[in-house]
């Protein structure tokens, strides 16, 4: 649905915001782009609807290379690419109804058709009762819903979300994410989300790209990236969503005393084997002692990813760890002591 091919953008002040990025976003997907502030993700998302013009490269949306269009054609294409913003960017002088009506004005529809469409959109985002309110009378979550309704007015195939939940509290964030997920299913909408919050990506994205200093350093299905993060920056993001780093700190600060034949082990596993009683089988089968210190299971989309920190002792340690590895569990020996 969206293809960026070798796209670069340098600003007048010599800042290379986006460096040779190539991305393919499949139709009907929710695609996340995550990175720290300054990584270039805001510029990248604006390259998709050409609010920023790339210095080089192609931007293909729905099989049209936007960089080859003239201004008028570009405006037509933009009507099929909705966008929502961190600070909502609603028109303050217009009511909720008139905000949602804005993109439809002058579109050739009759007034009756426009009013019907606006009411339909307000119903879709659950704000029918706020039609006559002004943005200043709404909460952040409600403002973002107006933003979403406005972005969807012309029935776009793509919705770009520029840090759409960063200004919202956790509960409101959840409700907006839920709405985006519903819209993705109901309208077959391709959604691109940029964020610095790993929790957002974890909750709604199918695929994710990690950006650092203008480049996409890692890209893949959300499960792969979560379970096998390769780059340091990816690991930081992944661990910001679980709390495994905190466990590391805690154990280090406790100056854990291990007996001579004991080892501290980090086990991680993805959906393939959470159904089986692996630990139980292992203890039954081998001559070992296991002490579970910490554990956690994350749901990535519909897939569980878990990890356990255990102390293992006894004679058949190597055999039992081999047994776990054979069953798809990743085993990492830790040295805190």
């Amino acid at each position: 649905m969206i293809e960026l091919i070798n796209v670069s953008k340098t600003f007048d002040n010599q800042v290379e915001a986006v460096k040779d990025v190539t991305l393919r976003i499949k139709p009907k997907q929710i695609f996340g782009i995550i990175g720290y502030s300054g990584a270039g993700k805001s510029t990248l998302i604006r390259l998709i609807n050409l609010l920023e013009k790339p210095d080089q490269g192609k931007v293909i949306v729905d099989e049209v290379d936007l960089t080859t269009l003239d201004q008028k054609q570009l405006r037509q294409s933009r009507k099929k690419i909705g966008m929502i913003f961190q600070r909502f960017n609603l028109f303050r002088s217009r009511t909720v109804f008139a905000n949602v009506r804005y993109p439809l004005e002058g579109s050739g529809l009759t007034n009756i058709e426009i009013n019907e469409r606006v009411n339909e959109l307000l119903q879709l985002v659950g704000l029918s009762d706020k039609a006559d309110s002004y943005p200043s009378q709404l909460s952040g979550g409600q403002m973002q819903r107006v933003g979403i309704a406005r972005a969807l007015a012309n029935r776009p195939k793509v919705l770009l979300c520029d840090e759409a939940t960063s200004a919202l509290d956790p509960q409101t964030t959840q409700s907006i994410l839920k709405l985006l997920k519903e819209l993705n299913k109901k309208l077959d909408l391709t959604i691109v989300v940029i964020t610095h919050q790993m929790s957002v990506v974890k909750d709604i994205c199918d695929e994710v790209a990690i950006m650092d200093q203008g480049s996409v350093v890692e890209q893949g299905s959300i499960l792969d990236v979560f379970y096998n993060p390769t780059y340091e920056i990816t690991k930081q993001f992944v661990h910001s969503a679980d709390n495994i780093d905190k466990v590391d700190e805690y154990l280090a600060s406790k100056r854990l005393e291990l007996a001579q034949d004991e080892n501290l082990i980090l086990l991680s596993y993805s959906n393939i084997n959470t159904q089986e009683a692996l630990i139980y089988n292992m203890i039954k089968q081998f001559d070992i002692k296991v002490n579970i210190l910490f554990g956690n299971i994350e749901l990535i989309g519909d897939n569980p990813i878990g990890w356990l920190v255990i102390i293992i002792g006894g004679k058949q340690q190597d055999e039992s760890l081999a047994y776990l590895r054979a069953n798809g569990v990743r085993v990492e020996v830790k040295h805190y002591v």
Binding site: Q71, R75, G82, R87, N89, S93, R150, L160
Partner: protein, 226 residues
Amino acid sequence: MFDVVTQIFPNMSGKEIEFLESIMQTLQMMLYSSIISIILGLAIGVILTVTKRGRILQNKFIYNLFDKLINVFRSIPFIILIALLIGFTRMIMGTGFGVKGAIIPLVFGTIPFYSRQVESALVEIDDGIIEAALASGSSPLQIIFKIYLSENIPGLIRGTMITMVSLIGLTAMMGAVGGGGLGDFAIRYGFQRRMTDVTIVTVLTILFLVSLIQSIGNYLIKKTTH
């Protein structure tokens, strides 16, 4: 009503008709020059806003041209501007005197000030809102009329109000050089014939005009703020 006035301000007696005419002249000067200045000032204010670097119709040449012109005209004292424009005024209006002769200097004195007022009202509109309109496929013309000229109506009214008040000051100054109006009335009687009570009546009248403009402005601002 005039009986009460002439009792407190004795020198006003016999000048009732002339006084009313002066008020009418001031109002005429205000009306014509403000209509022209508001239309042209809005246009120039919009041009300054959209041609600035990074804006929707970025254009260095046009921006610099208007920016510099405004600075030049704003730095000329009004009384000198009148003298400077006298030839031009006679050419266009056929006379340099009276209400007709006053319009051109008033317009030239007001537009630069008002353009800046418009510019600063438009700058208050968040760039994000412009971006949202661009993202939804709006053309530059749609953005000018539906966003820039619609999103900060209270700010535009405030700027218009301030400009109208300063315009009253300019019309009074026109009186000193034969423009007629309340300024002329006050100078001829109050100043040259030392009829201080006439000056006071003129000041009170102008005070009333200023507060009228401000109350109307404040009412409209309240009505358009959401």
